[in-house]
């Protein structure tokens, strides 16, 4: 299925996030590569996803899992060549799958030639490509992002005997966007990939592009100016390209990145994610409803991207301290699981491998307003390894089968870029694609049908959201509506069966049809509509007037 021209494809997409290194190794070196990924595109097509978001695959010293880039217009040798990438891209497009790549332009690796030049002397033409200072006193009060490893946003460069600014690791110096050359060079990078055929970019750490004294150096007007310029050029030269913002901010602050529909096409809704986990543990819809009610409207052409887990820690930046403590106590009693104000665990372990809860969370993800992102491996309930450093515990090899190395690689196990999960619960022997493909009732099969149902109704991706407020706070219920397409979603957040009476007078006369089994339910009348749900059960009802 070839791609159809659709400038708003990202609104209807189901995104699959993966790192090429983790997915499939074709040459037996223990590291996933593009050829291996290409081989697995059929799997992704069967899953029903419509876009892949690739984590950084550029040349890099890999001190931050590829986010420390040393060359923007190439492919890391471990993952293949540019040609391999091109083949992958073409094959993905043939299957109707779009590809989104990372654009990490807030900072580079300190091994990037640009930085090497910049630091070589104060007179170097690229000196001003980075943010230098003779002292570390500028931009006081700006918070540190990686609090567990960094103590300052300035690092001393012994070569040029001055300080350079870095919002992330000290080996990731920030580019200086006040220099027009930097911007133009970045634009060249963008063009490079768009000419190859990529469908969109995730702009990493976009909030931090510009620094100004007396501010928190985040979300500055100049940053928006930069993005607007990129957007303008992209719309002209490469229509249909999506720009996705990675801005871990409150929805009201992220709103600015949509502007009037002339900045980012999409942005992550970070604060919603921890509240979904919180609501489930509290057995109370309150945190979820509150954050969504606080979420501002965005331009028609824009979209929120929502997710349960990703390659980073489950971030608890956008919650109160009390909420953070609660989340730690409920989800990360073992302090090894905690990092950088977050929790470095995958979805299944967070749900204690409770299939019902995993389904419920995915059900909410697929039915809430926004484009859902599935993190690789979560569709089969992969586990994690909290004893690997940093956030590498959630970046272990994909588990394809119960054979050697989980079918990920033919290399010696010791050679793998990271050990496969092999404990009795989440180990590859128990959790793998091969086994789940052969069971109608596996999580994988269930995810396929979930995505299939979602893809069949545009209301999920583009419809409005209206909360119902039944007295039973353990039930989260909402109506999605797009024209005549109306869907009622009812979620039981509780571990026990619940009864709920829904006020659906507005929809009197409609017949609810359960969307997975297509069963008819009694027609809505004027009286409150009684539903009973089992533990963690949810319903999707299509409402039809017949």
């Amino acid at each position: 299925m070839a791609l159809r021209a659709d400038n708003l494809w990202y609104k209807d997409a189901v995104i699959y996030q993966l790192h090429v290194r983790t997915f499939c190794d074709s040459n037996g070196d223990g590291i996933g590569d593009f050829q291996g990924l290409t081989q697995r595109l059929d799997y992704l097509q069967d899953l029903g996803i419509t876009a892949i978001w690739l984590l950084p695959f550029y040349p890099s010293p890999l001190r931050d899992d590829g986010y420390d880039i040393a060359d923007y217009t190439s492919v890391h040798s471990s993952y293949g060549t540019l040609d391999d990438f091109q083949v992958f891209l073409n094959e993905a497009h043939k299957r109707g799958i779009r590809v989104v790549v990372e654009l990490v332009v807030n900072h580079t690796s300190d091994q990037h030639p640009w930085f090497k030049e910049s630091r070589s002397s104060r007179d170097n033409p690229k000196r001003d490509w980075y943010v230098w200072s003779d002292t570390d006193t500028k931009y006081q009060g700006v918070p540190i992002v990686f609090v567990d490893t960094e103590t300052s946003n300035w690092a001393w460069d012994p070569i040029s005997k001055s300080y350079y600014w870095h919002r992330f690791f000290s080996h990731q110096p920030d580019l200086n966007f006040d220099n027009p050359e930097v911007f133009e060079t970045v634009w060249e990078v963008v063009k490079f990939w768009l000419n190859l055929g990529v469908d969109g970019f995730r702009l990493d750490a976009v909030a931090f592009l510009v620094e100004r004294e007396g501010t928190l150096c985040e979300n500055l007007p100049e940053t928006h100016g930069i993005i607007k310029e990129i957007r303008k050029r992209v719309d002209v030269a490469y229509p249909g390209t999506m720009l996705l913002a990675e801005a871990n901010q409150w929805p009201a602050d992220v709103r600015a990145y949509f502007a009037d529909g002339d900045e980012f096409h999409a942005a992550f809704h970070f604060p919603l994610m921890p509240r979904m986990f919180m609501g489930l543990k509290l057995e109370d819809r309150k945190p979820i409803v509150e954050i969504l009610e606080q979420t501002p409207d965005i331009p028609e052409s824009c979209q929120w991207f929502i997710f349960l887990r990703n390659h980073d820690e489950l971030t608890l930046e956008m919650v109160t301290e009390i909420e953070r403590d609660y989340m730690y106590d409920e989800y990360a009693m073992d302090k090894t699981m905690r990092i950088n104000r977050g929790i470095r665990r995958r979805l299944a372990p967070l749900m204690n491998n409770d299939r019902r809860r995993v389904e419920l969370m995915n059900g909410m993800l697929m039915s809430m307003p926004g484009t859902p992102i599935v993190y690789y491996g979560d569709e089969i309930g992969m586990g994690d390894n909290i004893y690997l450093g940093d956030r590498n515990g959630v970046r272990t090899p994909m588990q394809w089968s119960s054979t050697l190395n989980a079918g990920f690689s033919s290399a010696d196990p010791e050679r793998l870029y990271a050990p496969v999960i092999s404990n009795p619960i989440y180990g590859y022997q128990a959790v793998n694609v091969y086994a789940q493909e052969r069971s109608e009732h596996s999580l994988l099969s269930w995810m396929r049908s979930l995505i299939r149902v979602r893809n069949g109704f545009r209301v999920f991706s583009r419809g409005t959201m209206q909360f119902l407020t039944p007295g039973n706070h353990r039930v989260l219920a909402y109506i999605r509506r797009l024209g005549e397409e109306i869907v009622l979603v009812v979620n039981n957040l509780s571990s026990s069966a619940q009864a709920v009476e829904l006020d659906v007078q507005e929809y009197k006369g409609y017949v609810p049809i359960e969307m997975f089994g297509r069963s008819l339910f009694p027609r809505f009348g004027t009286a409150p509509y009684l539903l009973t749900l089992g533990p963690y059960q949810f319903y999707w009802f299509q409402l039809r007037r017949i």
Partner: protein, 428 residues
Amino acid sequence: MSEDTFLADDLLRQLISVGEVDLLVGVSSHNPATPIHQAIQVIEQSFQQNFMRQRVVIVLMDGASKDGDGTAIDQNENALPNNGRSPGITSLRTIHRVTANFLTEPLPGVALRTILAVADLLRARACAVVTSSSTNLTTDSLARLLLPAYREKFDYVAPLYRRHKFQGLLIRNLLYPMSRAVFGCPIREIYPSEWGFSASLAAYCLNQNVWHEDSIRTRPEAWMAISAATSDYRCCQAYLGDKGALTGPTPNIVDILRQTVGSLFWCFEKDQDAWLDSDKTASAPTLGPAQELTSEPTDMDRHRIFEMFRSGVTNLEPVLGSILDQETHAEIKSIVELEEGKFRFRPDLWVRTLYDFAASYHHAVINRDHIVQALAPLYRGMTHSFLVEHADSSPAEIEAADEMLCSEFELQKPYLRERWKAKVEVKS
């Protein structure tokens, strides 16, 4: 006994929505001087500060008239939508409110039974009840009522207050020492305006076949405290702070005696097995600082109190003759003749008088309500005596006097037993 249905369908429906909770606070009636939403706000603030993670519910009794859409209204404009958010309250979880609707303001016993039933259905681990006489409910005081039951597994949490030495004399000179002596119940405030309890005590009380009794319907507090003490439930007393004003618009003494002493005597009747042939005592440790007494100057009409005593005893001579033992009656008649300055109601006489009243109540020598009413002048006599005797006493001296009075009650308990078991001639 089959359970009669007393929870309304509407309330049940609300409970379905709430589900299991950790903490429950019942507002059985609110002080008319305090708008209900203020009380609710204090409760919610207490939840927010002290019980952020717990599942909580507030149970309201609503006997106000309603407007057309069913919103409860009253003259103080206490209109309050269910589960509406109080300003300034942010919490991790939904704070539930359920409202039990009645046609008129429910009696305290009806309200308490409803609260107990809700606590039982929702499996609340710790509960507290707030009544109309709660004048100083604060976020801290509520936490002190809930925490012992929630964290330390106490079943009954009675309040302790910082009082004026002349405040609460009915408790000091009658209710507390008498219940302590008879039942071994060490709880001072057995008619509390707010108290806490556990789910298991709630279930126990709910299942007792007493809820149709008039004494329980009007003043159930003492019965609950005594039940906790005599049924081996763990009790404690938590210091809550100031009780409130020494004087002020006081309800009628006779009404108070009817409700308190009447229901205490009823408890004697009902739970005879617990005390008639037993001397068991319970313990109730104090949590927080011990109760304090203050002694600011007061402005009380002692002369009037004495005159009410004297005229009462004189005019009620035939009635008192039916109630009191001859010797007791003679002694009282003799002290009535004393001049006001020389009058003292000796503790031993007071105790004997009360025990005579209790026994006469048991034998129903005359109408029981009349027996309780006849106590009013004698109570006034005791009050006057106390005010005079302790005008300049320090708190420590008053505490010592309390203990002596308690000892006197215990000492004369055999007398009560003797009179209780005796065959009594009914007088007219």
